[in-house]
Point group: C2
Chain length 204, copies 2
């Protein structure tokens, strides 16, 4: 086992993702025709559908990579957070937001979000929900960490606060990608302003 066939498979996966990434960025999600992706990946249309259930799942694979990078980058902040609650949240959220447009354009984000609500049970839909869950957990972990070092009151409902912060950030991010003109600094400022209220409520 794991001979030629395995290697070819991995190679085709990579070629499809590479082709899709460049075409999505170049012509947008809708503009990138499956036929063109197949041609650039040097694979037939049928093969693409053998590897991915539908066009959305190809985008899904790209989004997954991006979000996993973001999660990784966030680990450092959770491990040793800035020494006050507001800055800690702002730093973690800053990492999420600043990394978010590295590989994915706003248009790609919009499509990804749309597909994940439209088809919550498709492979991508489930993966996207899991990624949201992982981000929520990371924010919760930060809150727990801040409780450990006595920056956050130990009697507050940490999980609920974490989810509240994530949900608000996520919704703000959704609105952000919906407006092509929206800028990152303004987004971060708006979220800071909202979080200030929570910081006041949960800080020691």
């Amino acid at each position: 086992m794991s001979g030629l066939r395995e290697r070819q498979k991995a190679d085709r996966h990579r070629r499809i993702i590479d082709a899709a990434t460049s075409l999505f960025r170049e012509s947008g999600y809708e503009g990138a025709k499956i036929e063109a992706i197949a041609a650039q990946a040097e694979v037939s249309i049928g093969t693409i559908y053998n590897y991915y259930q539908n066009k959305g799942d190809i985008l899904g694979a790209i989004v997954s990579m991006e979000v996993n990078e973001v999660l990784n980058a966030g680990r450092g902040v959770v491990a040793s957070p800035p020494a006050n609650v507001g800055d800690a949240l702002d730093t973690l959220i800053g990492i999420y937001i600043e990394h978010s447009l590295n590989y994915l354009s706003k248009e790609m984000w919009r499509q990804a979000m749309a597909i994940s609500t439209q088809l919550p049970d498709s492979p991508f839909g489930q993966a996207y929900t899991a990624l949201d869950g992982a981000l929520t957990d990371q924010i919760r972990a930060l809150i727990a960490r801040l409780q450990q070092i006595d920056l956050v009151r130990s009697d507050i409902d940490g999980p609920a606060v974490g989810e509240l912060i994530f949900n608000n950030m996520n919704m703000m991010f959704i609105e952000f990608v919906k407006r092509d003109g929206a800028r990152i600094p303004e987004l971060r400022a708006a979220i800071r302003r909202q979080n200030r209220i929570l910081v006041a409520a949960i800080g020691v």
Copy 2:
């Protein structure tokens, strides 16, 4: 002006919406073919596209009606809210949620949300964003009202709190419609739990 042609136009609009509503509920958004909607509305396919830019805009018109009803129902709560912050929020949010599945199925909501992120500049996308804005404003109005009657501290950032509450509720609602098994009481309980933190922070 405004003779036969106007009346026919209004009539066709109504017939299309009626046909679409019943077919969407019966066969789902994807299952309801434009051809079938046209047939049931006794209109041609071309006519439908003359009245609505695309299939999504038809759904959009239905969503608009639904959300406007919800907004109307909310006015009463803002005018004379329950006498404590937690109950006031719970009542308003309760109205939103309990009314939300009257005309629209979860599947229809998923489609509507997906389209509004996918095509934020289409007529429907803009209308949907405006509706979200109206709901946010209503929650903000409730906060302002509670400040007037001294249930909420006057020095808190009302608009930011209102947006935070809306964003969290909306995100919870999105996850709710994504899971066919999710139930309204659990959704409301989860939102109450999250809002409790805010209530503690802003209450007098």
